[in-house]
Symmetry: C2
Subunit: 304 residues, 2 copies
């Protein structure tokens, strides 16, 4: 099965601590790397992950709070020093370009590559990226400022052609890709061998949903239904329910309710408030509602 | 003796690695904290140092390259979340204020404290800070952009009054501070007891010079002569002498020449190029010229 991995570079909340860094993740889909959010310290974490900097061409920013974007300038400027030449695409609320432009102008003069901004409206559900392997769609969320999550949907892969059928019908090489992509095979005597007989269906395409930062927002359930992995913020324990609502964050239990109601396969919780020295209370509260819950942590990789 | 410590938060060069973070230091003079430079990741390092955030009120920026200032926004915004109320003073080239203002406006609305900018010309030797314990003077350096170092000079402390003389002359309490500050004591019969007889001189005031980033610049020798500790950048080994000159950096050996010629007590080298997996080559080259050389490293504290 081709690679579809989530690497956690940072999963703390607004106040970085010695236990957790500010938010950033890498989604590796078939060796193409996509970054979600880029808090301070992301470039060092990316180095630690040993993922190839050169395979990262697209960065998605959920919202313009510092703990989700203060690492961008360092990353962009390091890419310049490493003599990157490929365009770097940044997808975000339009304000980011306005804020970064003067800094790029000052700190990144004569960079050997371009930063290309792709502004979008986080309040609208939109496909903001699409290639032959994956599409990325925004998930409108409810936070103090315009915010969205991201839904990564793998494209279906071609069927597997059956080795025994190739041998049996002596199928020539030039036909094999066409059969993988759904064609039937016609024998010399005109007999049609239906595609279903020649192939085995490939693995079903996978999906990953990232939802941070947000208040409990059941509207998203329909959009993320059945995903293989949901990352959902779980800033607080239930004892802080009032604070969660006030600051437009979720409790671990609310994250689990979303996971349960959306019938996702697994839930990964993160964006932990600095007040929790030990996040097991968050894990316990979430797992009570949705057993397939995991705690995010720096340098964790989850394969879908 | 009162505290005068240097804490290294980061001592790498432009490319942060897993071994070294971008530049930042804390100078602790009698429990007042001063920050020099603020590369990405500084706030987490400051937390790791366990120094009190509340005692830090002054930040000095040597020059506007990203590895010396990209941590400012994160630090400023974290101070806001921690409900700081005291003004935070930032001393730098005037361009910094222009670059930070739109970000402060966007990311730090309604902060409970003020950021106060103190622009200065890094090309001029100027006292930019002065209180009753310490003064800070700029040290013009030679880098690709306007850059200066900082010279921290402790103020002399009052003499120590001699316990045996207090007892012998029955000196009343109200006179003791005046004697510490240099007054003579007049006995009831009019006899003058000279101050030198009543006191012991205090420890000589100490000084710390920070010089990074810079080409070999012997002009600074006169200004930093005899300091207790010199931090000098040593980006390269001698094999990279040409590159050092071209990029306006120093070799370890050049740093040591400055230390030797300025007759400083100790030399601390840092700002290591990412190419050195092991900095012992830099230490060896510097120590060959100036034996009292130490390698900087993250979380190192040097007491003067």
């Amino acid at each position: 099965m081709e690679r579809f991995d989530i690497h956690i570079l940072g999963c703390g909340s607004a106040l970085p601590t010695m236990r957790h860094l500010a938010t950033s993740q890498i989604v590796n889909v078939r060796e193409k790397l996509f970054m979600i959010d880029c808090g301070e310290g992301t470039q060092v974490q990316l180095r630690r992950s040993r993922l190839s900097f050169g395979r990262l061409n697209h960065i998605f920013i959920s919202h313009l709070h510092g703990d989700h974007c203060f690492g961008l300038m360092g990353l962009i400027s390091t890419f310049g020093m490493l003599e990157r030449t490929a365009d770097l695409h940044i997808y975000s609320h339009p304000d980011l370009q306005r804020l970064l432009a003067p800094q790029l102008e000052f700190f990144c003069k004569e960079m050997p590559y371009n930063v290309v901004f792709h502004p979008f409206d986080p309040g609208e559900r939109t496909v903001i990226y699409d290639d032959r392997s994956v599409s990325v769609e925004t998930i409108p969320l409810r936070h103090r400022i315009p915010t969205c999550g991201f839904l990564f949907r793998e494209k279906p892969t071609p069927s597997h052609i059956r080795r025994d059928m190739i041998d049996f019908y002596q199928i020539p090489i030039y036909m094999r890709n066409r059969i993988k992509n759904g064609e039937d095979y016609v024998l010399e005597d005109g007999t049609v061998v239906p595609n279903a007989r020649l192939t085995m269906p490939s693995e079903p395409p996978r999906a990953y949903a990232y939802c941070s930062d947000t208040r409990y927002q059941p509207k998203i359930i329909e959009q993320i239904e059945g995903v293989d992995l949901l990352f959902h913020e779980a800033t607080f324990a239930s004892s802080e329910l009032v604070r969660a609502r006030k600051t437009f964050h979720s409790t671990a239990s609310q994250a689990a309710q979303i996971a349960r109601d959306a019938k996702v396969k697994r839930l990964l919780i993160g964006h932990f408030s600095a007040r929790y020295e030990d996040e097991r209370i968050l894990l316990d509260e979430a797992a009570a509602v949705f057993p397939e819950t995991m705690l995010a942590s720096e340098n964790l990789t989850v394969s879908l």
